[in-house]
């Protein structure tokens, strides 16, 4: 236990050059949820994201260079594991996720303690979320594939608005996908026989900054995530469990 930990729950906010919105996001989480510590993972920002987050009262992890969204969020999982938080929620730094909706995720987990991950979904009921058609198509393709693979309806596989319990935290602290990680994370949850559920939430349009997924890159990411999905299917056990070889090992010869 360390001095920095004040409560049993942690809100992780990955942020890359989000100076425009980070202060308001941290403040609104702290206001809506006094039972959550707020950790901002500054993913190598070149603007004042860290300073503003600290000023707003968040704990701040400053990554020495940009790791990408997966690496930043995994730093949050590792922090949560190390400091023994009971629950962790991920909230985006652009103001897209509404802090008062954390309650919706928490209630679902309270209602069923066997759940390891609760995802906020924009598409269970029509919340009128304004996403460009190309983006929607990508999301729906992943939703279709994942739903069939995991045998459970997954409507919003790219949503980062998720609540995890200690088992979820432990799994993803060990291994979390690199970029566009949310889709693969659903598959990992399934492979490890953890339980997840989606609950309907509202999301706002981005408050500022740029989405990490621009239209030019989205085709590349789609192909990469599809590759990861299909290769992931061929993995007997997609991540190392305790007692297995280390995830990054020297190997023989090379």
């Amino acid at each position: 236990m360390t001095v920095s930990r004040r409560s049993d729950n942690l809100a992780v906010v990955p942020a890359y050059n989000e100076a425009a919105t980070i202060e308001a996001v941290v403040a609104s989480i702290r206001e809506a949820r006094t039972d959550f510590d707020v950790l901002v993972v500054d993913d190598g920002s070149t603007d004042a994201t860290s300073e503003l987050a600290e000023r707003a009262g968040a704990l701040v992890l400053r990554l020495p260079f940009n790791l990408g969204i997966g690496g930043a969020v995994q730093a949050g999982f590792t922090f949560a594991l190390e400091h023994r938080y009971e629950r962790m929620v991920q909230v985006d730094a652009d103001g897209q996720h509404l802090p008062h909706e954390i309650q919706v995720l928490a209630q679902a987990m309270d209602a069923n303690p066997a759940l390891d991950m609760v995802c906020g979904s924009r598409f269970i009921t029509d919340t009128g979320y304004p996403a460009p058609i190309s983006r929607r198509t990508g999301i729906h393709i992943f939703a279709f594939l994942l739903s069939r693979i995991v045998g459970q309806r997954v409507s919003d596989p790219t949503s980062g608005f998720r609540l995890y319990n200690r088992r979820g935290i432990a799994l993803f602290a060990r291994d979390y996908p690199h970029d566009y990680p949310e889709v693969e994370a659903v598959l990992m949850v399934h492979h490890h026989r953890l339980r997840m559920v989606e609950v309907p939430v509202e999301m706002r349009e981005r408050g500022g900054g740029m989405s990490s997924i621009t239209s030019g890159k989205s085709a590349y990411y789609m192909i990469k995530v599809l590759l990861a999905l299909f290769v992931g299917l061929a993995r007997r056990r997609p991540v190392p469990v305790p007692g297995e070889d280390a995830p990054v090992a020297a190997g023989h010869g090379i």
């Binding site: 020495p64 260079f65 690199h178 990861a228 290769v231 993995r235």
Partner: protein
């Protein structure tokens, strides 16, 4: 292109393709580095399997023997892959440098904090010695 050569080329590229996939499966190769390999392999498989396409490419780049066109294209992919790795190595070098610098700063800070802690302890001992005297 000679049928035997075509079969050998196809088999070799297919083996490469499968090895890359298996490396990704065993988590020895990240998707981001596998994609270029897979794309190159797919393009070469297409060229080796579809003779018309290969002849077309050969004519277009002014190579007499289609088999040589396959080598030219393969060398082209190898060059792109090498450049890709040089870029990746440069990035890793930069990151390693930054990590080393941050680690040095962190160690220095840790030592300073430890020294300060020891000094405080020494001060406290000194005071309590004097009080007990």
């Amino acid at each position: 292109m000679d049928v035997r050569l075509r079969v050998v080329a196809l088999a070799a590229i297919l083996a490469l393709f499968l090895v890359v996939l298996d490396l990704v499966r065993r988590r020895k190769l990240l998707e981001r580095y596998a994609l270029l390999w897979l794309f190159s392999a797919l393009a070469l498989i297409g060229l080796a399997a579809w003779g018309g396409l290969l002849s077309g490419v050969a004519t277009a780049i002014g190579v007499v023997a289609p088999a040589n066109a396959l080598f030219v294209v393969a060398i082209g992919f190898i060059l792109v892959l090498l450049l890709h790795f040089s870029i990746a190595v440069s990035r890793l070098t930069d990151q390693a440098k930054i990590l080393a610098q941050r680690l040095a700063l962190l160690e220095q800070r840790q030592r300073r904090l430890e020294d300060e802690g020891e000094e405080e302890e020494a001060d406290r001992d000194y005071v309590s010695d004097r009080v007990s005297d």
